[in-house]
């Protein structure tokens, strides 16, 4: 690993993992606590439409992905809030439409599409320095907004009705949150690809949520775990010559299963001593 660090692409990869992990821990907590994992998965896949758009019209696919994921995010949260029933069906449909548009547009684009797979499966080893600055900027935006609006976002996540009665602008905050998810999704697309990113967005937060007692700690621990998983996954993929995105996901998933097992054991022990009564 040390010798690998002499390569710029490896240093960039580690930095990208670090920067993405910060967003992942913070936004992942909201995704898990608000139970919007499905919407987030939908946003990720719909973003592929933007990648296709970028290819077709010859602008940056990342920019296209930003636009499309924001659009998908707004559409899906609208569906979620307005329709009483079957919101998940509509979200599933939007998810597939975005993906299909991307595939067709790329079909229609002539020429060789070398880095197409990198959007699907990630390309953490090919992150240019410019993208690192973009990730850094997004982290600053996300952390600043969440810090400024922490008490409102906490109330929204914990008890939306009460937040509404307290005249918190719930609708606007939900849109903001879903937009931040969309931006995080685009960052993660670089690292693990849009097919797998939902795992990295939710697993660190889900593990952290089992062991902490407030949301701030959940975000911090989630970010820390995400850094650990991306670094460990990167190292494993380097030494074993495996696809980095998938390796990072499997490392995270292994940790998640282990944490569930640990928790089951812990609650059984606690149950035996009667620590958690009714």
């Amino acid at each position: 690993m040390i010798q690998a660090l002499q390569y710029e692409f490896m240093r960039n990869a580690l930095l990208a993992g670090l920067l993405v992990s910060i967003a992942c821990g913070v936004i992942g907590a909201f995704v898990v606590l608000n139970r919007i994992v499905f919407i987030s998965g939908g946003i990720a896949h719909a973003a592929y439409g933007g990648v296709g758009l970028g290819y077709f019209f010859g602008f940056s696919p990342v920019l296209g992905a930003v636009g499309f994921s924001l659009l998908a995010a707004l559409g899906m949260s609208l569906v979620q809030r307005r329709t009483r029933q079957r919101a998940d069906t509509l979200i599933g449909v939007l998810w597939a439409i975005g993906m299909a548009i991307g595939i067709i547009l790329i079909d229609l684009t002539p020429g060789y599409k070398a880095d197409l797979l990198s959007y699907l499966f990630g390309s953490i080893l090919a992150v240019p320095t410019g993208d690192l600055w973009l990730m850094f900027a997004l982290d600053v935006v996300i952390v600043t907004l969440v810090a400024l609006l922490y008490k409102e976002l906490l109330a929204l996540s914990f008890d939306e009705t009460y937040a509404t009665i307290a005249n918190v602008p719930v609708g606007a905050l939900t849109l903001l949150l879903i937009s931040l998810i969309a931006l995080t999704v685009v960052m993660l697309m670089r690292v693990v690809g849009l097919i797998l990113l939902i795992a990295l967005l939710t697993i660190p937060a889900a593990i952290a949520g089992q062991f902490v007692r407030d949301m701030r700690a959940m975000m911090l621990l989630g970010s820390g775990l995400s850094i650990l998983f991306t670094t460990l996954g990167l190292w494993l993929s380097y030494t074993l010559n495996l696809t980095s995105g998938a390796t990072i996901i499997l490392v995270s998933a292994a940790a998640f299963l282990a944490s569930l097992g640990l928790r089951a054991l812990g609650s059984r022990a606690a149950g035996a001593t009667g620590e958690y009564g009714a």
């Binding site: 609006l149 008490k151 109330a155 509404t164």
Partner: protein, 266 residues
């Protein structure tokens, strides 16, 4: 009574109709809540109790009629209302501590981007003391018992320093001792001139704690009196029920004509 000419009532509902998707849930509701009232609202499930609370709290716009809180539209007047929901609805795995829950009561006073102040923390402290929950302020909310959770939710409402408390079946998940404790807390608050609107199924509250009873089943029967009248029973329960009155003797049910059947309603 003279003061009521000058200050508007705590809450005032005139000719209210409310509906979901054009299906009327509430029909021609009239209700005035005055300072110091302690109203128990009973009625069957689906009778519109939650809908009435939603309209009062500005969460649902009325189809017809007028609703005022402290003389203002609900969206503004609700700043002076403390709302206590049922504790069953919460995700027990949500990582949040008791004092953080209570501090949400201060949200309406500290807008977005502003930090909680010492005054907010003082209000949280007072509210937790009022419901005897100061000692559990650092516990995770999800690990509390039903009664403790409900007390914490009352503390959250109190932290807003409200003049009207609205509680939606606060004893649904609380054991008998916890229920009595909760009602004692409410009685003490009411003695300090807090107005209270309590939606409940619990006859202990109706018989021994509230000052007046209303019954809601699409229409509201409310006379500002403490007896449960035959009219209310007819409205509330399609089949005859036995109600046992606890506590003080004068709280015996007014009249219960045996064998009187509910009229057919459309």
């Amino acid at each position: 009574m003279a003061t009521q000419m000058e200050t508007p009532p705590v809450a005032e509902i005139r000719g209210l109709w409310a509906a979901y998707e054009h299906e009327p849930i509430l029909e021609d509701i009239n209700l005035v809540i005055n300072r110091g009232d302690f109203i128990g609202l009973i009625g069957p499930n689906g009778g519109g109790k939650s809908t009435l609370l939603k309209v009062l709290l500005g969460l649902l716009a009325p189809m017809r009629g007028e609703v005022r809180l402290f003389g203002q539209p609900p969206v503004r007047g609700r700043r002076m209302v403390g709302y206590v929901p049922q504790s069953l609805a919460f995700d027990r795995a949500f990582p949040i501590r008791v004092h953080e829950v209570v501090r949400m009561g201060r949200l309406s006073r500290r807008g977005p981007g502003r930090r909680y102040t010492d005054a907010d923390n003082a209000a949280v402290h007072t509210a937790l003391e009022q419901v005897d929950a100061w000692h559990i302020r650092d516990r995770p909310f999800g690990t509390l018992s039903g009664g403790q959770r409900q007390r914490v939710l009352i503390a959250r409402a109190l932290a807003a320093e409200p003049q009207l408390l609205i509680l939606d079946e606060p004893t649904a998940s609380v054991d008998p001792q916890g229920r009595a404790d909760l009602y004692e807390i409410l009685r003490k608050l009411n003695e300090q001139q807090m107005s209270i609107l309590l939606v409940t199924h619990d006859m202990l509250a109706i018989s021994s704690y509230v000052k007046s009873v209303g019954c809601l089943n699409r229409r509201l029967v409310y006379h500002g009196a403490q007896e449960v009248t035959a009219e209310m029973l007819d409205l509330a329960y399609p089949c005859p029920v036995e109600l046992i009155a606890h506590g003080t003797p004068h709280r015996v049910l007014a009249v219960y004509p045996s064998g009187k059947q509910q009229e057919e309603r459309p």
